[in-house]
Symmetry: C2
Amino acid sequence: MRVMGRETRSIRLSSEGGRAPVPEVLDQTRLPHEVRFVRLESAGDAERAIREMWVRGAPLIGATAAYGLALAARADPSDAELAAAAERLVGTRPTAVNLGWAVQHVLDRLAPLGEPEREKAAFEIAAALADADVALCRAIGEHGESLLRRLDHVSGRNRPLQILTHCNAGWLATVDWGTALAPVYRAHRSGLPVHVWVSETRPRNQGAALTAWELAGESVPHTVVPDNASGHLLRTGRVDLVLTGTDRTTAAGDVCNKMGTYLKAVAANDCGVPFYAAVPGPSIDWSLGPGEADLIPIEERADEEVSEVRGYAVGLGQSSVRITPAGTPVANFGFDVTPARLVSGLVTERGVCEASPDGLAGLYPERAFPEGSKS
Amino acid sequence: MRVMGRETRSIRLSSEGGRAPVPEVLDQTRLPHEVRFVRLESAGDAERAIREMWVRGAPLIGATAAYGLALAARADPSDAELAAAAERLVGTRPTAVNLGWAVQHVLDRLAPLGEPEREKAAFEIAAALADADVALCRAIGEHGESLLRRLDHVSGRNRPLQILTHCNAGWLATVDWGTALAPVYRAHRSGLPVHVWVSETRPRNQGAALTAWELAGESVPHTVVPDNASGHLLRTGRVDLVLTGTDRTTAAGDVCNKMGTYLKAVAANDCGVPFYAAVPGPSIDWSLGPGEADLIPIEERADEEVSEVRGYAVGLGQSSVRITPAGTPVANFGFDVTPARLVSGLVTERGVCEASPDGLAGLYPERAFPEGSKS
């Protein structure tokens, strides 16, 4: 997508002074206040980018780790060195599933090759992983765009289609396009008038910071609102659909996503406004069936994310202010579960389906529970 | 209520060096980071306290204005001067209904008196207004405490009663006790184990700043959470009731309160958790019947409240950080409407009633719509 008019991806190859190309990534901890691409010169740089959250989002973390292993192969393609680099990369974010998978995928492909072939092959494998994610997001965008056009036709209002989103499920969380925002970008580029209500997404404000910044880069009309405003927007007819991403979706269609998603879904349901989640196939947890969503462990994060707010201060750059009395007890849950009964549909790379065992089984027959099509 | 172990009110009389007593108020713009009582030496000081929001909440604004007029009478009790001071006081916050009412009430009472009697009378009238608000809040507290004890009995859980609140409807918004928090304070003081989930209440964070500070002063166990967390807390059985204040309640029982209240009510309803609002009789708008809540104008406030967050920074004291990209469009609605169908009951100074025309007509027969008891 575009940053200040230039097409880019969240991770890209960059050559400097005739040297071999290296990956570079946007340092997302500095957004939206500073746009800085950082060159990853070594596997150690890639580790640091993941650990310090310059990159975030499962697909982008996976791609960064794959390039990290390619950089390791450039420095020393021996089995021992690759295994050591892989272990360090996997250790950066222990809970990121894509990370382990991507690293193992590169290792498996390099193992049968001779050392001299490994660097070139590793860069090709990493590039293919990144391209596969872009293709997946693009497909979500195509199916989602059709959905937006259908809803725009139904809404029949003489105004842009009003989309409410939560958190950041845009290209910054993937390699390009994003998940929930991919349909928005496609629709906007192809001339459908849209307007996005961006929920700021406390405590880390990924909506106010990242989603608003992404949308501005693509010139998509948008308005940032406090998370508390979403009910009022829905109740007063200002929203035509809610569209969010998902961190994990059960085989039954329950959506586990950033804290606050359930509030939007339950209010949308109360107001007769459709609620959709954009679901990449790899994020579906086929091990969880109906009634099992509450088995998903909900991460509890650092208190400071709640008691302090990070932003930009004139003369100081990025800094934080404390909003609670000193020593106030706080709780910081990362995610919540939206039951399938509140979800109008799931937008996957294979099409849009009902949020149900049958709906998902229809699109992913090879993965569905044996009982999926019967329940 | 207590501040650092000392009983106080949000407005109180203070004598210094044998001089005539003057009112002093907590400067709420400095809370929770600095506790400072400010002496109001003149009607001009009272105007400034209201305009600059050192005081907030309809009852407290009314009491401050009444004392402001008393200070005006001390300086010059002539009709002309009192009328001029009244006009300046009423102009400080044009939309505050209590303000105009309190000022007119004092003026009306002073009009028949001779000038030498006016200062003393004005201070007595102002004190009576403040006391009347305290009595009203105390009565809400009594009825609400019974409700909490009933719900605690029903919940039958082996844990403190779990109350989720929103914004600040505590003693800082009134003269003492508060509305939604009055039952909590009474229950806690009388030995019922309670725990309050405090929703931070973006954009101004009155929950994180004021409610948390109030509860700490009374040693009521509490935890501050992002507004987004309330759905997860409700869905996972961590809340026994939601209890909020109200800015305006229709004769049909619809509750207009701080933005975000509706989201809590609709989620509570989805989860089978009761939702109550604490409703002082004077905040009921008897002119609005069933289906008319959306006639209430919803204030749109300054963009900076959304795009910037104010708090405390080490070495800087109170300061702000910007959380959006520069120039991002934002919207900032002050309130939302929770339909009566989502409200389990209203806690008034006359008792707890159903959120319906009949429920309110039963408690306020003298004010109800003629058709109230039939609809």
